[in-house]
Assembly symmetry: C2
Homo-oligomer: 250 residues x 2
DNA sequence: CGTAATTTTGAATACATTCAAAGATGGTGG
DNA sequence: CCACCATCTTTGAATGTATTCAAAATTACG
């Protein structure tokens, strides 16, 4: 569906890569200043998504990948009877939609977990620009490669880890992602529900809740609603790795 | 370790993309004839791997991706105490090593399940060539994108499917991959052990064995060692999808 | 402020695992 | 070529972890 040509309106947060605080994490990370503006030129700013709004829906025609600017999203794949699988959470600077390249359609819906802004990068233009800019091309390959590695880490989590280990790993991974983005790795807010976490980790909601309660009782974390405080990171890390002999029965 | 320069020896199966039966599935699939020979020029043929031999080991420096020419391989990621996770099986025409691009090292070991030949594609040359050949670049993006989609299907399998559904899905996926390669989708030989299957599907060996026996008793498949015959594909598909009310208690 | 949605907790159940052991297969050397 | 040993596969029984079902408590939101 063609959009009005009058997209030259100055958005409130006239967002350019050159002034974006995420540029050191995002796709143009490897580009020199002159090249960044070429990249910037193909990007389309989007109106912010409200909580629950889809960036796109499963089956929509693939046209673009998206870089998260602020907020967060989840990717859901529906198959058969109302049986969704949450396959990813996306935080600022991460690329959404790379798994749609090879088919006509996006393989899952991507939905905002809170108010979220994204940069739209039309893939045909990105591909063409990647011909001219080897660093951009390399970064694109690396982004996809990293996502492959992350996926395999996730498979390992799903197939070999206990519920406790999954929750601990999840919190550590989130913590690390926040740290990289300049936020506190010890204190953060979950933008997703317990149900989302359970769906993502292959656990029932009740299990997620129970284990968070247990972690709290063990003074590993303090959880209040969606606020998380990691109190004992070393212990959390050891919980994520392997079941150890119960140290403190009380 | 540098190899002798005399690699110009004519290999028994002097393997060129132009005469390769897999060319319609492999990376150069989208290339025109003239371009194929450019692609062919950067490829290095490798001596066949014997069963159990590694193509590369976890931690080895990333230099190349590999296209499987014949045989099959498994990818293993070791983390912590002897706790391997099998994250992928590779069949002819499939690309191995894409998850190593963004770090210095391969994130897992890849090991031949039987006598296996591969084409080595040095990644720096591939990247350069992908600058000149948009179709090659596109195919590379698509290959990675497809692998991302497959990974997410696998996550869904690991987090939502029962053991029966996992085994059924596994057999169907294999069947489909054989069919695409011109082999019978109903009768094939597993190159991997039950332990490998269990590791891959997140199940204990015993569970894999039990379920295969059950499928056999239900006349869905006939399994003899590593020979598999799919007797009732529609039933197998329904088994893969969802638990249905037991139809024939018999 | 009231209603719907989410989260927490408890008890019973189920599915796959673990432990144990027998049976089959395959590769190697005598 | 066959025998032997190691490895792989199959089967059974007991166990355990997470699920499901049920319901209360808390939170979010209009």
């Amino acid at each position: 569906m063609p959009e009005p040509i009058s997209r030259r309106r100055p958005l409130l947060h006239e967002a350019r890569c050159q002034t974006c605080s995420l540029s050191s994490l995002c796709l143009p990370l490897a580009l020199e200043l002159g090249d960044v503006s070429q990249f910037d030129a193909i990007i389309r700013r989007r109106a912010p998504l409200k909580k629950g709004e889809p960036l796109f829906r499963q089956g929509d025609t693939f046209t673009s990948v998206f870089a998260v600017r602020s907020g967060s999203l989840k990717q859901l794949t529906t198959e058969g009877a109302g049986n969704d699988q949450l396959t990813n959470f996306y935080l600022p600077s991460e690329l959404v939609g790379l798994d749609g390249i090879d088919e006509e359609h996006y393989p899952g819906s991507v939905i905002a977990l809170e108010t979220t802004t994204v940069c739209e990068i039309p893939f045909d233009r990105l591909d063409l620009l990647s011909e001219e800019l080897p660093e951009l091309r390399g970064q694109l390959y690396r982004s996809m490669s990293k996502e492959l590695r992350d996926d395999r880490r996730m498979m390992r989590l799903l197939s070999r880890k206990t519920a406790d280990q999954r929750l601990a790993s999840f919190l550590i991974t989130l913590s690390d992602r926040f740290r990289r983005r300049g936020y506190s790795p010890y204190s953060f807010r979950l933008s997703m529900s317990r149900a989302d976490i359970g769906n993502y980790l292959g656990l029932a909601v009740e299990t997620v809740s129970r284990i968070l309660s247990r972690f709290q009782n063990q003074n590993v974390v303090a959880v209040s609603g969606r606020e998380v405080n990691i109190l004992d990171m070393p212990r959390l890390i050891s919980l994520a790795e392997e079941e150890e002999a119960d140290v403190s029965p009380h």
